[in-house]
């Protein structure tokens, strides 16, 4: 109990200290790397020797509130923000980010791919954030489940049909529904539909939303769901049910599997998400660094971005925290067990022969949340409430069309490029 109390007191003190914002300090506010151990690594390893920087963390929604509050108050305390692409997106509309075009040349020089730089424009002309680190989603399974793989199936090249057969076999042998998805209130299930299921079955996300392929996809997914642990609608992070043995096979963001893999690197295997008729959809996750307008210390924030993009810093991030470089950098071979599993899973995903990369939604502005809701509501209607796929898809397509019309977002990969707003066929 004592160390926890000490930690809490420390955290409270740190919070007070952060809010007070020592004048010469550069405040770096992040929605990523929030757990105490990770934040400590950022402070003691990643930001070591770069001068006075206060690394503060905030959950995504208080983060938005704080940024909006500072914008409205006209008083900035934060010089640098680090957050996911989807969390930075709403800041453009609420004037929480200023352009960082002056820093983009250096980032490109370091080897940040053009596709990632383009994401950082958040649908506009100017660079609004500099890519910071990337991750993706993979699957993890307890080694005991591998014995029940269907004949002829290779865990690294699974199809959705094989995943279903596997989950069914595990259920028959162990009596429990051992496949799990993060479909809880804070889970990232919407990204599974947008980056994995839809591309794999339909080759698109928006334009194919209510296609015949999509109808077949939902029917198949509903079929698969019989073997999915019903607590999935409460799971936010799959590492906990994996560690507790509640599920044996799980899909999630690498950062949300990491604890389980670190706790028992010898018990788990990692592998890419399954493939469908159109390929093996996968979605990279990008965190970016942005500078709010009127930042108290813009020069130092720019310097910090420069530091965070150095190859050695990026490699340290991978080794210590399990996020991957956005710049050209060689990962060392002696990574710790859990991180090694993550790296393997990601590498297998990216190099899969049938890999079908999907971008994060582009150009939706503040409508990103409602866009996710369309996919979650469709899931709820078809899979959880048993509505007929055709009727549910038609109804949800109307909501999706309203969002696309309002934001005028053109199609993004894997949908085919469009002139004007992305059509829903």
């Amino acid at each position: 109990m004592k160390p926890i109390a000490a930690w809490l007191a420390g955290a409270a003190l740190a919070a007070i200290w952060t809010t007070a914002g020592l004048a010469q300090d550069v405040i770096f506010l992040s929605t990523q790397l929030r757990p105490v151990e990770e934040a400590t690594k950022v402070r003691q390893v990643i930001l070591k020797g770069v001068g006075p920087v206060t690394y503060a963390v905030e959950e995504p929604s208080p983060f938005q509130t704080r940024m909006d509050a500072e914008t409205q108050a006209g008083k900035r305390t934060i010089s640098l923000v680090g957050a996911l692409h989807g969390e930075l997106q709403p800041l453009v509309n609420s004037k929480g980010l200023s352009p960082v075009d002056d820093l983009s040349a250096k980032a490109k020089e370091r080897g940040v791919p053009d596709a990632l730089m383009a994401l950082g424009k958040l649908g506009g002309e100017q660079q609004m954030y500099i890519p910071w680190m990337q991750a993706t989603y993979i699957m993890a399974a307890h080694k005991s489940a591998l014995a029940h793989l269907p004949a002829g199936a290779d865990v690294n090249t699974l199809t959705y049909d094989q995943l279903k057969a596997w989950a069914k076999a595990v259920q028959e042998k162990t009596g429990k529904r051992a496949l799990g998805f993060p479909a809880g209130p804070k889970g990232l299930m919407a990204r599974f539909f947008q980056g994995y299921l839809y591309p794999s079955y339909t080759g698109g996300v928006v334009s194919t939303f209510k296609s015949a392929d999509a109808e077949a996809m939902w029917t198949a997914f509903k079929d698969l769901w019989q073997h999915v642990n019903p607590n999935s609608t409460s799971y936010d992070f799959m590492q906990e049910p994996l560690m507790a043995g509640e599920v044996l096979i799980a899909f999630d963001h690498v950062a949300r599997l990491k604890e389980a893999l670190n706790a028992a690197p010898n018990d788990f295997v990692t592998f890419p998400a399954p493939a469908g008729p159109k390929g093996r959809g996968f979605m990279p996750v990008i965190a970016g660094l942005g500078i709010p307008p009127g930042a108290p210390n813009r020069a130092a924030a720019a310097g910090l971005i420069e530091h965070l993009l150095k190859p050695e810093t990026q490699v340290a991030m991978a080794r210590e925290l399990g996020f991957f470089p956005v710049v050209k950098a060689e990962l060392p071979s002696d990574l710790p067990g859990g991180v090694k599993l993550l790296v393997e899973g990601v590498a297998k995903t990216q190099t899969a022969k049938d890999a079908l990369p999907s971008l994060l939604p582009v150009g939706l502005g503040a409508k990103g949340g409602e866009f996710n809701k369309v996919y979650m509501d469709t899931f709820q209607r078809i899979v959880l409430r048993g509505e007929a796929p055709r009727a549910a898809l038609d109804a949800q397509a109307a909501t999706l069309a309203a969002i696309i019309t309002e934001t005028k977002a053109p199609c993004w990969a894997p949908d085919k490029a469009s002139n004007g707003p992305c059509p829903i066929n």
């Binding site: 809880g184 209130p185 019903p230 607590n231 609608t233 509640e246 990103g368 949340g369 409602e370």
Partner: protein
């Protein structure tokens, strides 16, 4: 003279400023948020709210919870209050124990009940120990809406009956003993005395307790969230989801306005239904 006239205003000023800053201004801002879309007055947010997949369900769930939980709580609290009156010794101790849940935050209460009802919770352990079940039974998943509702209702009853009890005990203590003694002399049974004397004289307290409890019950959120996530949507939970997950504070504000309207309507209904004639009071 001048000073004494200003004094009352000075004395209520801090409370007034506090209320204006932290209640009236946010309320006005919420109303504006709810009724404005793209910088113009509109009902778009309300249309979106009503057209939402979970709207009907969350409305139904919230009302169901209120209709089940509040009457049970009032009945329990009445029973407990009358029992307390009959206690000669240890009355304070019993009252103190019964009001412990008041000191527990609602999220913490939800987590306590989660520890009981979850797959590896105390309930399953107990049932398994007695051989009633073989393995973990799911009480809180979307597949078992019945037991999920029961769990939420039970947690709410446990958590918030004490507030009703406290109000009713205060009311019971105000009823003069003479009425009951007189009735007893005329041969009235305990049940008649309770119906004809205690209940009518307790009406003002019951009214306050009902208003307070019902308004709070319409705002139920943390217990539901802890126990069921979003498997059991309620109105305030939807407001939270629209604000934080769907990032549309207009629709979230519309939900807030709806909850406020329902609470106001319930309060007015109670005031009318339980109107108390001041002259009938002792």
């Amino acid at each position: 003279m001048e000073r004494s006239r200003a004094l009352p205003y000075l004395l209520i000023a801090p409370a007034t400023i506090f209320l204006i800053a932290l209640f009236v201004i946010p309320l006005v801002q919420t109303v504006v948020l709810a009724f404005v879309d793209d910088g113009a007055w509109s009902l778009t947010n309300f249309r979106k709210m009503v057209g939402d997949l979970n709207f009907g369900l969350s409305l139904r769930n919230t009302f169901l919870l209120v209709l089940v939980v509040v009457p049970l709580q009032v009945a329990c609290a009445l029973l407990m209050g009358v029992m307390l009156q009959k206690l000669d010794k240890g009355r304070d101790l019993v009252l103190w124990i019964w009001t412990i849940p008041l000191g527990v935050s609602d999220l913490a209460a939800g987590l306590v009940w989660l520890a009981i009802f979850q797959d590896r919770g105390y309930l399953n352990t107990l049932l398994a120990a007695f051989g009633v079940i073989d393995g973990p039974t799911n009480w809180l998943s979307y597949e078992s809406p019945g037991s999920m509702f029961l769990a939420v209702a039970l947690a709410e009853i446990w958590r918030a009956t004490a507030i009703v009890l406290v109000i009713l005990v205060a009311g019971l203590q105000l009823i003069p003993k003479e009425y009951g003694e007189a009735a007893e002399i005329f041969g009235a049974s305990p049940w008649t005395r309770f119906r004809k004397i205690t209940l009518p004289l307790l009406k003002p307290s019951i009214q306050s307790a009902l208003i307070l409890r019902t308004v709070l019950a319409f705002e139920v959120f943390a217990v539901v969230y802890a126990l069921s996530g979003r498997n059991f949507p309620v109105l305030v939970g939807e407001a939270y989801a629209w604000q934080h997950v769907n990032q549309n504070n207009g629709v979230a504000a519309a939900y807030a306005i709806l909850v406020m309207a329902i609470s106001l309507a319930a309060t007015l209904a109670y005031i009318r239904a339980l109107r108390v004639n001041p002259e009938t009071q002792p």
